[in-house]
């Protein structure tokens, strides 16, 4: 798989990463290399093989919808870059 400038631009937009034109070349090379390696997968026949997402074929466990921990908002927000009155602050979204 050969990745080009447009692919890098599109994927960077999906991944919310800023990839400037100056470093795009690096990503074109590295992503092409990795995807070429990955393409070896196509040489094995997997028709009818059930995909495995959990190594023990575990399924999502459910728990009772009960509160197990009290409010720790103030404590947790100590890690936030910007807060006010219990809210997380971000740049203005609606003018």
């Amino acid at each position: 798989m050969i990745v080009d400038k447009d692919v890098v631009k599109d994927i960077a937009a999906l991944a919310l990463l800023e990839i400037t034109p100056e470093i795009a070349e690096e990503y074109i090379t590295s992503m092409s290399q990795i995807l070429t390696l990955v393409e070896q997968m196509q040489s094995i026949n997997t028709d009818g093989v059930e995909p495995m997402s959990n190594p023990l074929d575990g399924i999502q466990k459910l728990r009772l919808d009960q509160v197990t921990e009290g409010d720790q908002r103030v404590y947790f927000q100590e890690n936030a870059p910007s807060t006010s009155e219990g809210f997380y602050l971000v740049p203005r979204v609606i003018e």
Partner: protein, 496 residues
Amino acid sequence: MSLHEKSIAEIVAALDSKKFSCRELVSHHLDRITEANGYLNAYITVDREKALTQADAMDKARASGNAPILAGIPIAHKDIFCTKDIKTSAGSRMLDNFIAPYDATIVSKLKAAGTISLGKTNMDEFAMGSSNENSYYGPVTNPWRKDYIPGGSSGGSAAAVAARLCVAATGTDTGGSIRQPAAMCGITGIKPTYGRISRWGMIAYASSLDQAGPLTRSAEDAAILLEVMSGFDPKDSTSLNRQVPLFTQSLNNSLKGLKIGFCKEHFGKGLSSDIENAIDIAIKQFESAGASIQEIELPSSKFAIPAYYVIAPAEASANLSRYDGVRFGHRCENPVDLADMYRRSRSEGFGKEVKQRIMVGSFALSAGYYDAYYRKAQQIRRLIKNDFLAAFESVDLIIGPTTPSTAFKIGEKSDDQIEMYLQDIYTITSNLAGLPAASIPIGFSKGLPIGLQIIGNYYDEASILNLAHQYQQETNWHKMSPTAFSLEGIQPSIKP
């Protein structure tokens, strides 16, 4: 014998008989860290005061006769485990300012057992790497040779244990990140069955592959810690709800009748001949202890690396989407709008390898590519598991090399990404299958340690540790320590 050369059992006995105190033991290790960390860069954070306060508490508990089983054992945590009130960086600029509000389950369990955390160890950023060169805090030096990598991603933990800057350390293993650095630093490391140890509070890389485990100097120490670290945790939805075996109770079982498999494809092309020779010698030792060796086949293994480099980046791209500069972690200066804030915070906070894997993962999961990449990789994963299930019909354990070569020079493979990825060729299959696997030291090549990988059947860490321990009863490789950090003290040339 020096304070830093003792096994966990020896330390517990010495503390019990008051040969030294927890404070003396902890201070001794902290002093060694002060002397050697400038050179090794194995620790990102050391909390001297906290460690000494805990040591005093453990001395008190011992005096009053109600000390927990591992009271006073100095350990270190990989900086991927959340530790309350101490920075948890995951080796990333993104979390350089992150103080976890809680302890990871294994941190709590080890604390409850009486161990004392000396600090947090260096690692490849978000556990993405095989050389510890991808850390925001700089590379770690291999204690066996200057300017050589210690392996990764748990490189700081492996180097700290090998240089005797702690008795043992925690690590995580997504594609070999416990076993590969253990091999390159000449120590013992085990990744148990997927789900055996809780992932709660462990910063996620690829959740269906990530598993924690101990890095230690011997199989016996590993068994002791694994017993403490394992167990069901309702806070981790993939935690195994099964009885944890007493791994220490089966260490002395005889190897008579044990059937050990090896895979011919793991030898020959791409493998260093010194490693191959060391394994041949180990095999003879297993045979003389009564085990039998036979060839097994793992035909789908050759697709493990391609499948891994779809699954791991795909899961990483989803897991790392949480770093958005809003609730915690790095935020860029003066964002013009929300989108700019997300993009620049992420681009500044993540290093190159992490961004690359997010890009590859986002690509593999994007519209039109999902079936050809992610689904295909998951199908291959099933084939790899089926190969192992078939092999374990006829053998109890599978052995082989942990790594294709011994430690290499810092910077040597930085420009060849694929070559770097191939470092994990022998370790990745057990992550994809979810099997337990360990690495133990079995010799040296030009002064650098060689590791033997032992893979076990599901839930059978006990047999792995039994084989490792029996081998370590007959050999001394696990007792070797790098001269610069050996018995008498740290060599002056290394001190700051």
